[in-house]
C-alpha cells in the first residue's frame, strides 16, 4: 500500500491554536505522526532579563490565556520559596478558589471544543453558555475575565468579602445544576459514547513511561494529581484524584467531567474554611537562589524553574507545560487510528499550544 503524507494543521478547524502533525497514512489508517511545534513562540522566558521579578507576574499570567491564574500562582510560589516569604493563609485560600474557578472554565471550554470536534454543535454552545457564567464570577471577583491579574509575589491583590462570597456560592449552585445537564449528555448519550468509547486507548504503563500528566494520565488509571502536594490551601481540603481505568477518549472526557464537580466541591470547602486576616505581606529585597515549583493546571502538571542572582531581574526562567508532556502520548496514540479519529485524539490531550511554545 502506498503511503501518503497529509499535513494536519497548523491551521485546522478543530485546532484553536497552531500545531502541525505530518500524518503518514496508508489508505485511511495513520501509520506515523510527526509533530512540529514552534508556530507561536513569543520568547516570554527571555523577558525575565527585562522585567523585574514583581512585574514578571503579569508576563507569567500571559503564558496561557486559559490557565492564566495558575501560571501566575506557580511563578509567585517559586519566587516566594526563594525569598522565604510566608504568604498569609487567606491569600492561600483565595488562590485556591481562583485556581479552581480557572479549572472550571478551562474544562467547560474543552468540553465545548470536544463537542464541536465531533459535530455536536448544540452541546458545544451549551457548554460555553455555562462557561460564560463562570467567567462572570471571575470578572466580579478579580476584575478580569480571562487574565485575572490578582496574584502577586507575597499574596493576592483583591479580597473576596462575605457578600461577594455568598453571591459566588449562589451562582455556583446554578452553574452546578447546569453542568449536571450537560455532563449527563456527555456521559450517557449514545451518539457521544459511540464516537468516543474505544478510540485512542492509552494503557496505564504507556501513560507512565511516556510521562503523561493531568487528566490524560488519570484517564489511564494513574493516580497523579499535583494538588495532593498540598500547595496553596489544598493540604487542608479533602479530595481524591478522579481516575478511570479505560484509557480511551471517553475516559478522558469522563475524568474532566468529574473534575468539574470536584472543583465546585473544593471551592465550597475553601469558602467554608476561609480564614480572616491579611491578604498580602510586604516583600522587600531581591531573590537569590533557585526553585522548581509544581502545580496542577487544568491540563496537568506544570513545572516552573526560577533562578535568581540577587538582582531585581531573574537570571533564568523555564516552564515545562502539561501539553508538552502529553505530546509524546499523542504521537503514540495516532499510529493505527483512522484518519477521521485524528481530530478527536488531538483534542483529548487538551492541546494548549501558546503554553507549550511560550
Amino acid at each position: 500500500m502506498a503511503r501518503t503524507v497529509i499535513p494536519f494543521g497548523p491551521q485546522h478547524p478543530v485546532l484553536p491554536e497552531p500545531i502541525m502533525l505530518d500524518l503518514v497514512v496508508e489508505d485511511e489508517k495513520v501509520v506515523e505522526a510527526i509533530p512540529k511545534i514552534g508556530f507561536v513562540h513569543r520568547g516570554l522566558e527571555k523577558l525575565v532579563e527585562k522585567k523585574d521579578f514583581h512585574e514578571f507576574v503579569f508576563v507569567a499570567e500571559r503564558v496561557c490565556g486559559i490557565c492564566s491564574f495558575i501560571h501566575g500562582q506557580t511563578y509567585c510560589q517559586a519566587v516566594e520559596q526563594i525569598m522565604g516569604v510566608a504568604v498569609p493563609p487567606r491569600a492561600h485560600y483565595l488562590r485556591t478558589i481562583w485556581g479552581e474557578l480557572s479549572r472550571l472554565h478551562s474544562h467547560l471550554l474543552w468540553l465545548g471544543l470536544l463537542a464541536d470536534g465531533f459535530g455536536f454543535e448544540s452541546l458545544f454552545m451549551h457548554s460555553w453558555r455555562v462557561r460564560e457564567k463562570v467567567l462572570n464570577i471571575i470578572e466580579a471577583t478579580t476584575g478580569g475575565r480571562v487574565i485575572f491579574g490578582t496574584c502577586k509575589v507575597g499574596g493576592v491583590r483583591r479580597d473576596i468579602d462575605t457578600a461577594a462570597m455568598q453571591s459566588l456560592l449562589a451562582q455556583l449552585a446554578v452553574i452546578e445544576k447546569d453542568m449536571r445537564e450537560i455532563v449527563d449528555v456527555f456521559l450517557e448519550d449514545n451518539s457521544v459514547k459511540r464516537r468516543l468509547c474505544g478510540v485512542g486507548v492509552l494503557a496505564k504503563d504507556d501513560a507512565y513511561q511516556l510521562g503523561c500528566v493531568g487528566p490524560m494520565a488519570r484517564a489511564s488509571g494513574l493516580t497523579q494529581d499535583m494538588r495532593q502536594l498540598g500547595y496553596a490551601a489544598f493540604g487542608e481540603l479533602t479530595f481524591q484524584p478522579i481516575t478511570r481505568p479505560e484509557g480511551d477518549s471517553f475516559a478522558r472526557c469522563a475524568v474532566r467531567c468529574g473534575e468539574l464537580f470536584q472543583s465546585v466541591d473544593l471551592i465550597r470547602q475553601a469558602a467554608a474554611r476561609l480564614p480572616t486576616g491579611e491578604i498580602e505581606v510586604k516583600v522587600t529585597g531581591n531573590p537569590n537562589g533557585e526553585f522548581a515549583a509544581r502545580t496542577e493546571q487544568p491540563r496537568g502538571e506544570v513545572v516552573y524553574y526560577v533562578k535568581a542572582n540577587g538582582t531585581k531581574n531573574l537570571q533564568r526562567f523555564r516552564v515545562r507545560t502539561p501539553t508538552f508532556a502529553n505530546i509524546p502520548a499523542l504521537v503514540k496514540l495516532l499510529p493505527g487510528c483512522d484518519l477521521a479519529d485524528v481530530p478527536i485524539l488531538v483534542l483529548t490531550i487538551d492541546p494548549c499550544i501558546s503554553c507549550t511554545e511560550r
Binding site: E55, L123, E139, G143, G144, G149, R158, E181, V185, D189
Partner: protein, 129 residues
C-alpha cells in the same frame, strides 16, 4: 446507553429566552469591579513618575517639568499596577471599556502650570548729576 439525552435540554431552550445579550441593541451588562479603562485625574497628580516606572508595558509617559501625563491606549493592559502604586490616588480603573483606540497617538493630559514669576522690579533710575 441512552438515546435523546439532549432532547430535553433542547426543548427547554427552544421555549426559553436566548442566553446571549443582543449587544449593541441592548446595553452591555456592567459587572462592578471589572478592570476597564484607566482614568487620570490631573488635579491631584504630582507628576512623580511612579506610574511610568511601574507600568509593565511602558504605556505611560510623564514629564514632570512640563506637567504632562500621557498614555498609549493600545499598550495599556488595564492591569492596575499603576493604580496600586499611585501615591496620590490620581489613577483609577473604570468599568467602561472606553472608545476603541484606532491610532497610535498618545492621549496627553496637560496639568496646570504655575503662573510665571513676575519679573523683578527694575531698579529706580539713578538721577543724573
Amino acid at each position: 446507553m441512552a438515546y435523546f439525552r439532549m432532547t430535553q435540554m433542547a426543548l427547554k431552550w427552544a421555549i426559553s429566552k436566548p442566553a446571549t445579550n443582543p449587544y449593541p441593541f441592548a446595553p452591555r451588562v456592567i459587572i462592578p469591579g471589572s478592570r476597564g479603562l484607566l482614568t487620570f485625574n490631573k488635579d491631584t497628580c504630582v507628576y512623580c513618575s511612579v506610574c511610568r516606572k511601574k507600568c509593565p508595558t511602558g504605556a505611560i509617559g510623564v514629564n514632570r517639568h512640563q506637567k504632562k501625563w500621557a498614555i498609549d491606549r493600545l499598550r495599556c493592559i488595564s492591569c492596575g499596577y499603576c493604580v496600586e502604586a499611585c501615591p496620590k490616588d490620581s489613577l483609577a480603573l473604570s468599568t467602561s471599556h472606553g472608545s476603541p483606540a484606532v491610532t497610535k497617538d498618545r492621549e496627553i493630559y496637560q496639568g496646570e502650570m504655575p503662573a510665571p514669576k513676575a519679573p523683578a522690579a527694575a531698579p529706580a533710575p539713578v538721577p543724573a548729576g
